[in-house]
Amino acid sequence: MVRVVLFCCLFFVFATGQGIAQSNDTTYLKEVRIYGLPTTSYATGSKTEHIDAGDDVATLSDKLINETSIYLKTYGNNQLSTVSLRGTSSSQTAVLWNGVNINSPTLGQSDFSVIPLFLFDDITIRYGAASSLYGSDAIGGSIMLGTRPAIFKRQFKGTIFQQVGSFGRVSTGVKATYGNTRWELRTKAFHSFIENNFPYNSPAVGHSKEQNQASVRNYGIDQQVHFKISGTQQLDLEGMYTNNFREIQPAVTNDLSNETLRDQHLRLSLNYLNDSRIGVFAATTTYVESKQDYYDDVTSVVRSKQFTALMSVDKTLSQRASLRYGASISHYGATSQNFEGPISENRYDGFVSFRYALLPFWILNINLRQSIYTNRYAPFAPTAGTEYHILRNENNKLLVRAQVARGYRVPTLNDRYWVPGGNPNVTPEDALHVEGGANWTRTWSALKFVVDAAVYRSWINEMIVWLPVDNIWSPTNLQKVNIYGGEITTSAVFTEARYKITGTVLYSYTRSINENSPSGLTNKQLAYVPVHSGRASASLATRTWEFNIRFNATGLRYTSLNNVSSQALDPYGLMDASISKKFLFENLSFQLSGEVNNIFNVYYENLQNHAMPGTNYALTLHLNFNNQ
């Protein structure tokens, strides 16, 4: 009987087409242990996903496209890439580094193509609104870029990554970790270049062309120093610099484009942890500086600086209850040709979270936050969440969860100070979010089967849109959007002595419905939000061989609120496959991988009239050494 079930599961996984090894099982934060210092998670009731950053020189954009069903609006291959999490706008996802929002204070969003995965260890995606925990922008969700906790043991290990691929891609990365019982040092550096001279045949042009303005150079370095002061205290220092220079890929119809963009980010953080009598005390100071040089006949430069001091105390009150509270101060500064001089502002946040186990299998959680920016109050942001374990057997776990949350987005500096048009009176976007979900994990000896399902609904009010008035664009709080949808993730892992088979299927249904907008059209799906998207993957791994195949499907996306097929991007499906072989030596291992992407050479677009590449290849070498 078990075998039959097993067979059916595998059949299901394979029949849907997919592929591959997934290390991003959906899990739910319970406790995060930062080197012996437990901090409790207050994300109870929400869907959270972890993705291992891996050892590849790739961008956050590439990773999310390949391994989640999140939609990214990419302006070409390795070009500007903005996220649409659960049907929200690119400004409605908070991106945090060391607990601090690093979305551009001028644009209010992040370009995921300039966030190098190689310099981070793991990524946590928290779906749904959660401004109580993450502050501004956490409406569609929040993405935390993380550092793996230091382990303070004797070690010396490293990785060298080398890749060559189609369209002049050459990427190199080096990582090393040195540690003893007091210190842990990590150094990472990478360089990546792609000429991006791919051929394409767009129906809008009617003949084959070669991309000639899309090259991208990306490099960066990260240094971490972790110091164990004592059994209860720890200090972490991190410095990161990234540099991305790209030719901006034009629309397929445009031939004489010469726009380029250089994006530089400097990120510094100092983190102090102390497991004291008052609880786990954490103090973080971060400094984030960004500089963008946009060239289009003339160079325009936007600089922003952000200094944040964040303090929190996480206290376990009893076996059942824990409490976290804290405050932060942020100072922002920005300059731009479109500001009437340097802009600066301060933001103050206070927050408190309380988690209580009503019964051992029933947890309640409340989070509250109040933020003040330039002497204005952001919407008071509460969240209430709960998790109930219906089944708690070792081999059969079923959990149901629910939460209700408020999300907000403080208007960007551009929204308020841009000349011409900036509107200092524009108010924060305000969202109410409810969601429910279930997670079932079933194990039959060698087979582990996980299903996670979520349904949600969001009401977003006061959405900021820029509108032209006599040729001057100005922001107003005009738009209203209601979003509802669901996601289902199914994975099966079959582990035998000599091999492991993994299959995953993800599907997202997203209705992002416009309720009010300047065009007067209501009840329409927002542009660039696919109703259907999904992916499937399968992998077969032995001790040294690994074979992966995956299929990503993205539904039709309208390009306007008219919701007509003549103003829409066609659905597409992309099939990728890879094979790798590991060569193991005593302290050393090589892994050689070959991959082919877009096997069926599908022409597709993620931004109207912006070509994406057809079939392409890459050859990768990983060299790992580990001297314990």
Binding site: P203, A204, V205, G206, P250, A251, V252, T253, N254, D255, L256, D296, D297, V298, V419, P420, V465, W466, L467, P468, V469, D470, N471, I472, S517, P518, S519, G520, L521, K524, A527, T559, S560, L561, N562, S566, Q567, L607, Q608, N609, H610
Partner: protein, 349 residues
């Protein structure tokens, strides 16, 4: 050949109707109506031309795509000018001009290699297209050989070379990043006079007296828009004052304006309000002619030279197809129809 009476009548009717409406125009799908220029979203090459049929008000969207196998017209469609059998469509951010058969919209040729082109006109068998060139270089007018389909030369004017009008063998160009109008001699291929008008000059109009009007939008938040009347008789004399009259509007106004069939009243807009100024006026109008409450913000204006119907384009937020409102010159709403994405102007037969 022997024709029955009925057939004779039919033939006569056809001749009559053709003469009445078409005056030697070729017959085609898009002979009898108004073209709407929809610039589309910047960067995504989704600009289109729509056609509003005069007879039944029906709208055909994306003429270029539908008549040319789904090809994209391009990125930021700025203007369309009809001359003889061809329509010249200037595509700003695609740096080109698409030339189509005006009655069928079948592509004739593409003039590539322009630098942020804006508007086009024809004088003595030659085409003239204005170009911004860049945001750091002065604009220019490029001379187009309409037979060879090539640019044969160019005349540098001033920053933001925008609208162009051919009048009495001279060309007038409004340099919209500045406060000047350049007067060009197309034979000598040079600027013969630079006239100071108001900030951000745009559309030209010729009034009943044969004088040229230019609308100036004004400096950002300076409320200094104006209508400036230029005497073309002074164009050849560098030292004489070309400005015959200035009507201060005391508000920032559209850089687009039109003149009625009688050539004695000028219409422009501010937000969703349309204003009328008589060519004999010396002061700003005390009130708007009408306001379209349901519109978001007007982005283009046109007037049918035959029917004197005003056309107002509302681009909304550029997130959906815009709307064209039709009004009589006395401000009575006729109707409204759907346009394409970001309607910014019109071309009339």
């Amino acid at each position: 050949m022997k024709l029955s009476g009925l057939k004779w009548l039919t033939l006569l009717a056809i001749i009559f109707l053709s003469c009445d409406n078409n005056e030697n125009k070729p017959s085609g799908k898009f002979d009898d109506g108004v073209f709407v220029v929809n610039e589309g979203n910047f960067g995504t090459a989704n600009g289109t031309i729509s056609f509003i049929s005069e007879s039944n008000g029906a709208v055909t969207q994306d003429l270029f795509g539908s008549e040319n196998n789904g090809l994209a017209l391009g990125d930021v469609v700025q203007s369309m000018t009809i001359h003889d059998d061809l329509a010249y469509i200037v595509v700003n951010n695609s740096n080109k001009m698409e030339v189509v058969q005006r009655s069928t919209f079948v592509s004739s040729y593409t003039l590539n290699g322009l630098a942020l082109p804006r508007y086009f006109t024809v004088l003595d068998g030659k085409g003239y297209v204005t170009e911004w060139v860049s945001f750091t270089d002065p604009g220019r007018v490029s001379i187009v050989d309409l037979d060879a389909h090539a640019v044969t030369g160019s005349i540098t004017t001033d920053f933001g070379a925008e609208n162009i009008i051919a009048y009495q063998n001279l060309l007038y160009v409004s340099n919209t990043f500045t406060n000047t109008v350049s007067v060009l001699d197309p034979v000598a291929k040079k600027v013969i006079k630079t006239i100071e008008v108001g900030s951000a000059p745009g559309s030209f109009m010729i009034d009943a007296q044969g004088l040229i009007w230019v609308i100036c939008g004004g400096n950002y938040q300076s409320d200094d828009g104006k209508l400036v009347q230029i005497d073309p008789a002074k164009s050849n004399d560098e030292n004489s004052e070309s400005v015959a009259k200035t009507v201060e509007l005391s508000m920032n106004v559209s850089t687009k304006a039109v003149i009625n069939k009688g050539k004695d009243k000028i219409f422009f807009f501010v937000g969703t309000s349309v204003y009328g100024v008589n060519t004999t006026d010396t002061a700003a109008p005390s009130a708007s002619l009408f306001t379209t409450a349901e519109a978001s913000s007007f982005y283009g204006i046109g007037i049918d030279p035959e029917t004197d119907i005003l056309y107002l384009a509302d681009a909304g937020g550029f997130d959906a197809n815009g709307t064209v409102y039709r009004y009589s010159t006395s401000g009575v709403l006729v109707d409204h129809v759907e346009a394409g994405l970001g309607p910014n102007g019109f071309a009339f037969e």
